[in-house]
């Protein structure tokens, strides 16, 4: 019996990225996500007779940016084509896209897999196109509903080369790539990255071939995967499905498939939907685009630092682990928060711990983004400085001061700590008295500790904290405890 390991998977991904612009790609209606149907529309979007598309300059600049970020060749002369197909969410009867001479060709995306290994996805091309509207099909009645808000939203479609993978690694590879694309477009500020609103969507082409074969197997395409997790699940499922067919001596059919995230199933679209023959030809309504050297240079100068570069920087300049660096660069705003805090305090590991611990927990609980956190980088830096100077134990900072700061973001951390009597007791005389009292209370334990039963230290520290309400400076307490225990007879 052949096993899955006797096969190799060939995978190719197409990611549609909705570009962040004020207006649509070929018309002036607002490019804005809206839940009220048919509010962002125009005569051009609805393809009323006599209307003509006119290209949004910003879309070209955004497409150049992603091309530069992926090391693509930028075609400085690029044209649009009509992709003909008939569906109610496409009012013209064709989608304006690019076929020959797309704006970007070649290039690659480098990323890090979950296990820390580096990976590279080679790209075939990146082209500009318009999004379609949305149709829904209520169970009742003889009509489908069409909403054209999304029609004409500028997109870039990023198309990868087919890549040969081990069957057990293909899904993680697809996941990591899609995640990196989301990071990239957010850092470039060309897309808001909001998966739940469909800002990024992925189609996965999957096929299986016997290990070592030079000939790719029959591929299928799973459409419209709208989260990183769904990409991973759908690829896993499709590999299993194809393996099942091949093992049973059946053929994989060339099909377009739907992934149902709720049921975790893959089903074929109706065969009629698949009979596509797009009959591409250059769109005579749109003049060719010439990207001058000056324009290209201008966009190059606007390129920000990219997530992989920042990840390296966090590791080399700030001494963070690969994992910390990966998490902090996940969102551009999170990295910005880290960078601003790091200008105010050099306890970088502590900043990372706070961002990935208490702060992340608070944000998740309240469904907030880091920008909406009431405590700003200056506040976090103050908090960390208080901990580092011994004025505050980590426990008190986390349980008491941080929640207070969230409620009183305008007040300096130290003033808040003072006002609520949270500042650690750093009075050596007072603490010595407390410790002496405890030693007197536990003479047997004190003796045992002195004779080397180091485990008892925790008990003594606990007693000190109990008696001081957790406000004893831990460093000072340790020093005093060591000294006073040594004096025990």
């Amino acid at each position: 019996m052949p096993t899955l390991s006797d096969y190799e998977v060939v995978i190719g991904l197409e990611v549609h990225v909705q570009l962040q612009t004020q207006s649509k790609i070929f018309s002036g209606d607002a490019n804005q996500f809206s839940t009220t149907p048919n509010t962002n529309i125009s005569a051009i979007t609805l393809a009323h007779p006599g209307t003509l598309p006119k290209l949004n300059r910003q879309v070209v600049a955004h497409a150049i940016k992603i091309g530069l970020a992926c090391g693509c060749h930028i075609n400085q002369e690029t044209i649009f084509a009509r992709k003909n197909y008939f569906y109610p969410d496409l009012p013209k009867g064709y989608q304006i896209s690019q076929d020959k001479a797309p704006i970007c060709e070649g290039g690659k995306v480098e990323f890090v897999l979950k296990d820390g290994k580096k990976a590279v996805m080679p790209l075939t091309r990146i082209h500009m196109e318009e999004d379609a509207g949305k149709s829904s099909h209520p169970d009742e009645g003889a009509y489908s509903w069409v909403d054209y808000n999304r029609a004409g939203t500028p997109l870039v479609e990023i198309v990868t080369d087919p890549v040969v993978c081990h069957p057990n690694e293909a899904a993680a590879f697809a996941y990591g790539y899609f995640k990196e694309i989301r990071k990239l477009v957010q850092y470039l500020e060309i897309c808001d990255g909001k998966m739940e609103q469909g800002s990024l969507r992925c189609d996965a082409n999957v096929s299986l071939m016997p290990k070592g074969s030079q000939v790719f197997g029959q591929r299928t395409e799973v459409k419209n995967l709208n989260s990183m997790r769904n990409v991973q699940r759908a690829v896993t499922l499709e590999i299993e499905r194809q393996f099942g067919l091949l093992s049973a001596g059946e053929q994989v059919l060339r099909q377009t498939l739907n992934f149902d995230a709720q049921k975790n199933t893959i089903t074929a679209m109706r065969s009629k939907e698949e009979m596509n023959d797009y009959r591409y030809f250059p769109d005579p309504d749109l003049a060719p685009v010439m990207i001058s050297d000056e324009w290209l240079q201008e966009v190059k100068q606007q390129m920000p630092a990219l997530p992989q570069q920042l990840q390296d920087k966090l590791m080399t300049d700030f001494g963070l682990s690969a994992y910390d660096a990966e998490v902090i660069t996940e969102e551009k705003a999170l990295y910005a928060y880290f960078a601003q805090t790091a200008k105010l305090t050099s306890h970088y590991k502590l900043i990372a711990n706070w961002l990935m611990g208490d702060i992340k927990e608070y944000l998740n609980q309240h469904h907030l983004s880091i920008e909406a956190l009431p405590v700003k980088p200056a506040g976090l830096a103050q908090l960390i400085t208080l901990i580092e100077s011994g004025k505050l134990s980590h426990t008190i900072a986390s349980r008491e001061l941080f929640p207070l700061m969230l409620k009183n973001p305008e007040q300096p951390a130290e003033a808040l700590a003072q006002a609520h009597r949270l500042v650690a007791n750093q009075d050596a005389d007072e603490l010595s008295e407390v410790i002496k009292g405890i030693i007197a209370q536990f003479p047997k334990e004190a003796k045992a500790y002195k004779q080397g039963k180091k485990k008892l230290k925790g008990m003594f520290m606990g007693q000190v904290m109990k008696q001081t309400g957790g406000k004893a400076d831990p460093k000072l307490t340790t020093q005093l405890l060591d000294r006073l225990i040594a004096e025990v007879e």
């Binding site: 612009t21 004020q22 207006s23 018309s27 002036g28 209606d29 607002a30 490019n31 009220t36 149907p37 048919n38 509010t39 962002n40 529309i41 125009s42 005569a43 051009i44 979007t45 609805l46 009323h48 006119k54 290209l55 949004n56 300059r57 910003q58 879309v59 070209v60 044209i79 003909n84 197909y85 008939f86 569906y87 109610p88 009867g93 149709s135 099909h137 009645g141 003889a142 009509y143 489908s144 509903w145 069409v146 909403d147 054209y148 739907n258 089903t267 679209m269 109706r270 009629k272 939907e273 009979m275 023959d277 009959r279 250059p282 005579p284 749109l286 003049a287 060719p288 685009v289 010439m290």
Partner: protein, 103 residues
Amino acid sequence: MNPNSQPNVDRQTLHKIAQLARLDIAATEEEAVLSDLNQILDWVEKLKELDTEGVEPLRFMSGEMNNLREDIPNNALNKSAALKLAPKADQDHILVPKVLNND
């Protein structure tokens, strides 16, 4: 393409084109539509008599380049006006004969 080839739309091609355009061609219409299509192609075929040796393909009628607009929202269409122009609509959507999706 071979310049001497004769265009000829057969029934199979006719139905493929019709399917791509979501048109129903009744059996009684087939002959008439086939004849029309072939006449159109014959007429286009005539253009091939021209000697285009060394002439670049003309893809765009104007010699224009970079006909671009700035990214400024304008000319949006009022929702009720747009829906009024549609053959059928409710208060929110344009309605079209039901498209059977993936069932």
